[in-house]
Amino acid sequence: MAKDRNLLQIPAGMRDLLPGDARNKRILENKWTDLFTTWGYQEVITPTVEYMDALAVDTGEEIRDDRMFQFFDRQGRILALRPEMTTPIARVVATRLKNSQFPLRLHYAANVFRYDDPQAGRQREIFQAGVELIGAPGPLADAEVIALAVEALRQSGLEDFQISLGQIEVFNGLMEELPLSDEQKAKVRSLVAKKDFVSLEEMLAKDGLCESQAELLLKLPTLHGGREVLVQALPLAVNERARQGLNNLRQVYDALRTYGVEDYVALDLGVLRGFDYYTGIVFEGYTVGLGFPICGGGRYDGLLGQVGFDCPATGFAIGLDRVLLALSRSREPEPVPVPDMLIGGDNTEKIIAVAARLRQEGRSVEIDVLELEEEGLKAYAAQRGIEEVVFYRKSGDDPTEG
């Protein structure tokens, strides 16, 4: 009996990847895995389902528990689908890898889940690839992961992309100097996170900040460009914290020039995300024609401490789906992949032997299992777009090639 059609639908925000898309995803994933491996990163795989408590850490994406898929196990404990990979990896490091030699270089390619309203670039199941470099506090570590992110995007085939690089401590240093209550500061952070600069300006004017202080804060998102930004940002170095932040930004940027990737990197002090999570460098990647970031990352020295293993760390995640979306926009749709060769006929022994040999040589070979006659086989191959057809008869005749 046919099933009710509704039961055959899939939940909102989920997708089936058909052969063409699935292949593109796999190719990209493999390319990145190879790349990360050549940079000395090792893959880890963590479970899709974890205890809610282990996942409920505020991360750069501001994922709160109401944005997770949650359910109960039979003991009544709350489980959730992982909404990102950094927290599970922090847990693995803090519990199972803490006796390793640091720094640790780990990478992953995994699906993560978010209970968002499906909208601009937000599916509920998301494919991400990324790296975490754990146990190194200096600017060279940050520069390494950013250079690696650039390389990963470059190898994906994206032509026009940019990494915007900021430093959250510059903002945090500025905030320290503002004569605002904790509540007001929380409000400032939430307005900055929402990018509502109009309300921010109104609030700063109303709360009686002297104009120069308010101006410094409002100037942040306009500081954007190359090395000159470091000079333009000098007035923001109002205290030691902000000064060190700027200094660190300069060091990372200089290292990125040594990597030769500065053409892909813009300095941008307006990149402000995950205030409770990032502790230094923050960055986002963008590409022309896509209205939302394709990757993001930064330094998160506080996270491992939250799981009982105080340790500096930096890393990034790339949205595989988003990169694929951007690529599909700039490329002609690829034809559905077909095998190199189709072999048919009634000489089954021969067919299987030949197929095995060719496959070992790396060719993709399909064997006809419909027992088609020669004409039918050719017609079928033509329809599929398979270029090479071989037909083996039992009688020992020479094979006919099409």
Binding site: D160, Q162, K194, V198, E201, V288, G291, F292
Partner: protein, 220 residues
């Protein structure tokens, strides 16, 4: 593509105020007219496109990056919760969000706490929800798409939350504004990726518009 700037403009009352501002800011505004049936206006030489669409759709065009920047009322922004950058208060298109009661009810006493579990009709359920949540009043919100003032007259709702500019519509329908929720004006918004990738194109426009409206008073 990086040098092409696309601006989304809303049909309706904000349109007329937006054009002279863009012109003053030095942008080509030739052929921009609401009456023309054209929805996309291209200025190839200036590397500038305009999209003309419904005000409620502006944040969507901008969020997806189909438009780089746009002009839209704060009233539209608050209801949609889109991921966009809000850059400049343009000071025109003023309106206020109010709670309004039928005159007869208003005369008896204006305390909204007496309206627990009553029905409120509105085009802005999110605004309504957060307003009443803050007040600690539980209400049933009825989402309508237009002519909100009709709802109390026919017994669909006990009160309404709506935007008001002159207050005439309320008066004509025997409604009285009993509480201001907030004031809204037109805003210059930007896509967060465009703002970074097309910074060299967008930042000067933003700066010019900001300095043009800086000393303007909101026109009520």
């Amino acid at each position: 593509m990086k040098d092409m700037l696309t601006i989304a403009l809303p049909k309706g009352k904000l349109f007329e105020d937006a054009i002279p501002l863009l012109q003053e800011a030095g942008l080509c505004t030739k052929n921009l007219s609401e009456d023309s049936r054209k929805l996309v206006i291209r200025h190839e030489k200036e590397r500038l496109n305009y999209i003309i669409c419904r005000p409620t759709d502006i944040p969507t065009f901008v969020e997806y990056g189909a438009a780089d920047i746009g002009i839209v009322g704060k009233d539209t922004i608050v209801e949609q919760d889109k991921d966009i950058m809000e850059l400049v208060d343009l000071k025109f298109g003023h309106c206020r969000f109010v709670v309004a009661l039928p005159e007869t009810a208003a005369k008896k006493g204006r305390d909204l706490t007496q309206f627990n579990h009553r029905r409120v009709a509105t085009k802005f359920p999110k605004v309504a929800e957060s307003f009443f949540a803050e007040k600690g009043i539980q209400v049933e919100i009825i989402k309508l798409h237009g002519n909100i003032e009709l709802a109390p007259a026919v017994g669909l709702a006990d009160m309404i939350i709506d935007i008001v500019s002159t207050g005439r519509t309320l008066k004509e329908n025997n409604l009285v504004a009993v509480e201001d929720i907030f004031h809204a004006t037109a805003r210059l918004i930007a896509n967060r990726v465009s703002y970074r990738l097309k910074h060299q194109r967008i930042q000067p426009v933003v700066e010019r518009i900001r300095s043009l409206v800086k000393d303007r008073e909101v026109t009520y």
